[in-house]
Symmetry: none
Subunit: 196 residues, 4 copies
DNA sequence: CATGAATGAGTTTTCATTCAT
DNA sequence: GATGAATGAAAACTCATTCAT
């Protein structure tokens, strides 16, 4: 039991170290020793807990996705979505996505990194596909409460996620303030209100 | 004179070889020798024509961007945008972007790759920034012909490009047909018609 | 503890391997793999113990200089310089320098190599400057015991070292016996006796 | 005839370019293209005039040695050594050697470079041996005019050259002024006056 | 004679991974 | 479990040399 806990703690420590490393270098250029140094452990340990560098990455991706899903659950847990008006609901969703995801530059960077890896790595691609599918589904479900047409709700979800990811992308390339990101996001939000 | 031609031909040959390589491996994992093999030349040649691997990449990015801008110019040259109705104009723009860019899976892959490199490479980031700025501006200008509010036109342009890029991203992760991409694109187009 | 010992042993093993290599090839033409082969270790080891080829060289130079200074200390430790006559003292100094330094062909070769590297490498130049400064100072101090004029003692030291180094140089270029090196050295020694 | 002249001119141009290059980089690190660039010619030309990089070096060494011998001849041609007193003669010799050789830092650098190459290259070593032999002989001959003992004259010559070369060496390693080079040289000259 | 494109051997360096202690 | 020494494959890059034009 205690063993288990130590193991889990160590693994998390390593995954968080990778997270920090990815803010500086690509996964490819990040060495096992870089991660070990960041985690403050001996590099041999990484091979004890994970059988290869790719294994670390795969676990890291699960960790990142699970982490932001937990944030979403937590955020939703604190609201009474059942009794909110359509307008209140949309405002809440946008507030969360804008602040925690689209405008979270460091998260955006990590996702760009993961997308790129997914291009050539089927396992990573699978994880990404699943994460986006769930995101679209969850969002679709929420939207469905305020709309009749289920297929339309799904399509709107897809469009919303695509737009948000596109904006997130811009945030990694343009310096803050150089694009009227806030206005565009607000305009988009307004449009979604009208549509739903 | 002939020398000049050989130079240009070889350089293009190398850039096209990199293009082919990037459909299989990341730039980081693509070695100079891989590119040389693909181009059917000795690896030393690559160092003769470009002073470093990064130099090849930078030239490649210019080549890719210039290539699709040329396609856009060519496409526009064939239409009479001046006398088209707003509806016709929108249809044309979408037809081009959807087919040549957003749904061009191999182009999308390359851009995901470039985005990732841009995360850590300022020169690449600069090129990307410029390319997207020009795209947004060109689109904004076209939209401005059918709309009063210039700032709004610009914001719509940004949103459109963000959405398209988000959809392009999905196309690299989801197998064709698994997301109702066509429907979503059509719905988005419809919405833009209403807005403008 | 044992670890520490292995580290030091390996480092020394590598420096001695470089020493052997330099009897055959210039430092520039000696590859990391050559040194590894000579040391009987994998070439990766050299990068484990030293961060670059230059680092190996710098450590090697320290090692060589320290080595012959240790020899000088050892040699001096065995004599009673305090109670020797001027003549005895000069004879002892010359006996040491002639045999261990000036006529030590393999040491002379190494120093020619180091001089050349110093031409273009400031770090090496600094080490050389320090070594010669200390040699001149140590010698000057010894001479000072038998002479009044301190500035003169220093100048004589400089001249002596210059002469010895010039002779050492000849020993690397001329086959033994082709120059009356012994006689010249003896004549010089005689002259120094007269001067002091 | 004209052909011959153009050829000679080109060869000299290349050798002078190498001379310039050697003030910046070692021969080993100087590439054929570096020399060509410095000479302002195409690098292919170097292989037309010299069959290899080593061939350039060998010719360069001849050129350098011949050049300073010519200077010596020219300098001697301008004096009436026959009718000078011993003192005048010594002053003249020292004036020439000190200024043109020992304290000529760029010449000293080149000689250090050549010594080092001679360590591993028998052809270069042979050239150097010959040059020093001739220098010692010429000097010995001049000294012989003022001294009886021929063997002694030769030994003094060797010692003088060794000392000068040692001082030249110091000039490449110590910044000008940090060693009392002038004083030492003057003291040495004084001593030689006394000896002869 | 001159040019510059092409070759290929060789260099330093990095790094995931293994394994004895 | 933890450590760090060792391995060896592979990378980018350099460069003397060759040779067709």
């Amino acid at each position: 039991m205690a063993r288990r806990k130590v193991q889990e703690k160590r693994r998390l420590q390593i995954l968080k170290a990778l997270d920090a490393c990815l803010q500086r270098k690509s996964f490819e250029k990040t060495s096992i020793k870089d991660i070990a140094r960041e985690a403050g452990v001996n590099h041999g340990v990484l091979h004890y807990y994970f059988k290869s560098k790719e294994e670390i990455l795969l676990n890291y991706i699960d960790y990142v996705i699970e982490d932001y899903r937990a944030q979403a659950r937590e955020w939703m847990g604190g609201r009474d979505l059942e009794h909110s008006t359509k307008r209140e609901f949309i405002d809440e969703v946008f507030a969360f996505v804008n602040n925690r995801i689209t405008l979270n530059k460091s998260l955006s960077r990590i996702f760009v990194e993961i997308w790129e890896i997914a291009l050539y790595n089927p396992a990573v691609r699978g994880k990404l596909r699943e994460a986006y599918t769930r995101w679209v589904e969850d969002l679709g479900e929420m939207i469905s409460r305020h709309i009749e047409d289920k297929a339309f709700a799904r399509n709107v979800s897809i469009a919303m996620v695509a737009f948000w990811e596109g904006m997130a992308l811009f945030s990694t390339v343009f310096p803050p303030g150089s694009l009227a990101v806030g206005d565009v996001l607000k305009g988009f939000q307004q449009r979604i209100v009208e549509i739903l």
